[in-house]
């Protein structure tokens, strides 16, 4: 569904490549997670996949980007955005501001495309149901909590029915409650068959929702692999991404000989529980 071949990119008026020789393949219907330290080029990569680089930002783009069968550089931005949706970091900025209720805000993109009124109403109802925001439809988008705003932002992209959705740190500005709300809807999104690319810092959540993890460091895609093994990889420390306490604790336990040498390290709570079950609860009491 997404194919990046040997992609390098430098912003206008600079010779410094913020991304170099990126090769990335995301099969249709899967969820790809991309992790990287602050400043590693995550936002730029999100913009490349969704066509804003080079169509809006200009600059020097090498290699080919093919999304949903279309070569992004060869089509117009209008066509590119019909293949890929982009949810940006700040829900405040994702909301257009052109509309006074959530219902109309959701329809904003469809109005721009000239979709018929009856169809718009149907799609608004459907997407609101999917994300569980039906009760917010008559509220002002600016009167919502951060988490609710982010759900509206995601809904406003889903409604465009793009086969691919890119999310650039969609929970970075949310409290734990809001974060959980956003990750919960990712499960519903999976069921719709959409292809998802998530850029995220929160490793525990990523473990639960992504199929494959790609690591961005030193301007390159430096490693990739299945979610659990990649997110427990000790090299993530060197790359400034870190690891969950589940991973660190299991690693320390293994090094002290408390766990088997060949143990598969956990990333999330679900991974960790079976691993430590042999340590009896009652004895510790």
């Amino acid at each position: 569904m997404i194919d990046l071949t040997d992609v390098s990119y430098a912003y206008p008026d600079t010779d410094r490549f913020v991304l170099s020789h990126i090769n990335l393949n995301v099969p249709a219907g899967t969820v790809a997670g991309i992790v990287g330290a602050s400043g590693s080029g995550k936002t730029t990569l999100a913009k490349i996949i969704s066509g804003f680089v080079p169509h809006v930002d200009g600059g020097q783009l090498e290699g080919t980007v093919v999304v949903d069968g279309a070569t992004v550089a060869d089509v117009t931005l209008a066509e590119a955005v019909s293949h890929v949706g982009l949810v940006i970091q700040s829900p405040f900025n994702q909301i257009s501001g052109a509309k006074f209720t959530v219902r109309e805000e959701l329809a904003f993109g469809l109005e721009n495309l000239g979709v018929a009124r009856e169809e718009m109403a149907e799609r608004v109802a459907e997407v609101a149901e999917l994300l569980g925001i039906t009760s917010l439809l008559e509220r002002s988008p600016y009167a919502l909590s951060g988490g609710q705003q982010q759900l509206v932002a995601i809904a406003s992209m889903i409604i465009m029915r793009t086969p691919v959705l890119v999310m650039d740190e969609p929970t970075s500005q949310l409290d734990p409650g809001g974060t959980r709300m956003v990750f919960d809807v990712m499960s519903s999104l999976r069921d719709t068959g959409i292809t998802l690319v998530i850029f995220e810092h929160k490793l525990e959540h990523l473990r639960e929702h992504a199929d494959v993890i790609h690591v961005l460091a030193d301007h390159q895609l430096i490693a990739s692999g299945p979610a659990r093994s990649m997110l427990a990889d000790p090299r993530l420390e060197e790359w400034g991404i870190g690891s969950t306490r589940f991973t660190t604790a299991a690693r320390a336990a293994r090094d002290r000989g408390l766990l088997a040498k060949n143990v598969e390290l956990p990333v999330s709570l679900q991974d960790a529980v079976p691993l430590f079950e042999e340590f009896d609860a009652k004895r510790g009491a």
Binding site: K47, S50, F52, V56, L77, A78, V81, S82, G85, L86, I88, Q89, S90, F92, N93, Q94, S96, G97, A98, K99, F100, R103, E104, A107, F108, G109, L110, E111, N112, L113, G114, V115, A116, R117, M120, A121, V124, S140, Y142, A143, A153, S156, M157, M160
Partner: protein, 259 residues
């Protein structure tokens, strides 16, 4: 949260098509300025604006908002023109070097009556029309959707920006910035306040325009709208009638040789 004056009610005036109200407002303004007689303005207030205000149920707010704007203007108008009107000849009251002329007061009455109509009728429109509905109605009639976007978005952004400006003011004060001192010092204070405000706001714009493009704002398709704007045959006829009345108002004084 919007910052407009819109008064949430469901009166007959509120339910009118926004374009009908807009054309009525324009016709009223054209009429009072085209026939510059104070009693014409007075009649319009009594026969058109006041009844509409009563029907709308927003009369109280209309009165308090308008008076706040009008009292200083009208007061200054009568005092300044009464005292210093260049064409003033007939002195009706004098005290030392101060004298008030009839011509000056008549001039103030003429101008003042029109300002009163302008302010009352405009505020009534704003009170009874949600800006979002006005924008949809105008976009439906061929206004560029970019205008609609800018106006609606500004109305919703102002409170957010005011909040951010406050927050910056506090953040800098918390770093020891004092607002006291000479005017020059206070101009200097503007920099640490404005620079983060501007940079932050314009950085947001970059993100926001990306998000809008992702939602096909740049599309050249003919826009549709989710919420239909209500309209009736009577209103369609009324709108043409308003236009004819306004044109008649412009022509009358010229035809009668009053000007």
């Amino acid at each position: 949260m919007a910052t407009t004056l819109f008064d949430v009610r469901k009166s007959a005036i509120h339910r009118l098509n926004p374009v009908t109200k807009l054309i009525a407002l324009l016709a009223i303004i054209v009429t009072v300025f085209a026939i510059p007689l104070w009693w014409v303005a007075g009649l319009i207030v009594v026969l058109v604006v006041a009844p509409a205000a009563v029907i709308s149920g927003s009369g109280g707010r209309l009165l308090s908002l308008s008076l706040k704007i009008l009292i200083p203007i009208i007061l200054v108008l009568f005092i300044v023109q009464g005292l210093t009107f260049p064409g003033g000849k007939t002195v009706i009251w004098e005290w030392g070097i101060i004298d008030i002329t009839t011509e000056g007061l008549m001039f103030a009455l003429g101008i003042g009556s029109r300002i009163i109509v302008l302010v009352l009728a405009s505020i009534l429109l704003v009170l009874t029309t949600h800006p979002g509905d006005l924008m949809s109605a105008l976009t439906e009639r061929g206004m560029s959707p970019k205008f609609a976007y800018i106006i609606s978005s500004t109305l919703q952004l102002i409170p957010a920006f005011r909040e951010r400006a406050d927050s910056i003011l506090l953040a800098q004060q918390a770093r020891g910035l004092s607002l006291k001192g000479s005017p020059v010092r206070r101009v200097k204070v503007m920099l640490p306040l404005l620079s983060p405000l501007v940079l932050g706001m314009f950085t947001d714009v970059e993100e926001r325009s990306t998000a809008m493009e992702a939602r096909a704002f740049g599309s050249t398709a003919k826009r549709t709208s989710l919420i239909p704007v209500p309209d009736t045959l009577v209103q369609r006829i009324a709108r043409w009638l308003f236009v004819v009345l306004a044109l008649a108002a412009v022509a009358t004084p010229i035809a009668l040789g009053l000007l």
